[in-house]
């Protein structure tokens, strides 16, 4: 059920990317898609009654291993957040430049290229 909600969020992002005219909204759709995938990864690593995968000097290793959540998806999501930030900044840079050229954020008015 919870995964299905993640998937719906992903589809909303996809809808934003493919259907919207405004460049800013396309960027936001992209961001939402990435959120959905990140959230899915993290949620898939959660375990019932889980605790963060961080040890301190009082931790009992036995209970830690039997209770900590999956650390690997968290590492992946950290990487993917950064990649998302990189794509976002490049997109904003191109959007600014396109705005300077065309004076608008409307993508349907930038149809010099066909195909």
């Amino acid at each position: 059920m919870i995964y299905a909600l993640c998937f719906i969020l992903f589809l909303i992002g996809l809808y934003g990317v493919t259907c919207k005219k405004n460049i800013v909204k396309i960027i936001l759709g992209m961001v939402i898609m990435e959120y959905a995938v990140n959230l899915f990864l993290i949620l898939s690593g959660w375990r019932k009654g889980g605790q963060p995968p961080i040890i301190d000097s009082q931790t009992n290793m036995e209970t830690f291993v039997s209770r900590a959540v999956d650390p690997l998806p968290q590492a992946l999501v950290l990487t993917s957040i950064v990649i998302g930030l990189g794509i976002l900044s490049l997109m904003v840079a191109i959007a600014i430049r396109l705005y300077e050229r065309y004076g608008t954020f409307d993508i349907t008015e930038m149809r010099r290229l066909k195909g």
Binding site: M1, I2, Y3, A4, L5, F7, I8, L11, I12, L14, G16, T18, C19, K21, N22, V24, K25, L28, V31, I32, N38, I42, L43, S44, G45, W46, R47, K48, G50, P52, P53, I54, I55, V65, A68, V69, D70, P71, L72, Q74, A75, L76, L78, T79, I81, V82, I83, L85, G86, L88, S89, V92, A93, I94, I96, R97, Y99, T104, F105, R112
Partner: protein
Amino acid sequence: MIEILVGSFLVFMIIGALIALETSDLLSSVISVGAVGAAMSICFLLVGAPDIAITQMVVEILSLVILIRATIRRDLTTIDGDREFFGLMATLAMIFVFLVLGFYVFPELPRFGTPSMLQSSQSPAQHYLRNGLKETGAANIVTAVILDYRGYDTLGEATVLFTSILGALAILRVYSRKKKSHDGKK
């Protein structure tokens, strides 16, 4: 308990995402994406991922600042609505296919709260939890994974950031061509 909390945050996120995409005011749509991100950050905190929660929060703030300063301030005229009819239909058909795929798949996924790492005691994640401190010396297992077991990924990640910033610098430079050599392509 946490299922219900996470589920309600997810519903909130879906509503926020819809508002962000459908509202005609760009500033409020950016801010509602910010709200979606903040809700996601709280979700991360709930499911035991404080590292990611911190990162998500700060990245969120920075990207909102960039988005607002760089795009919204230039143009607040509202361009709204969808692209042409055909594209919309194609997309809706695609989304429908994905929905069908989704409902075909999601009952099959492991139940929420039973991560796949529990399937076998040999899985890498179990190994990290059990031996991470011993093998790498880092008490934060996520850091151990990021910088030791999968350090190569992190090198890639740093490179992605470097690349995109170099790309943005390249895209935004003033003089891009030495002379107007090529004429307009129609």
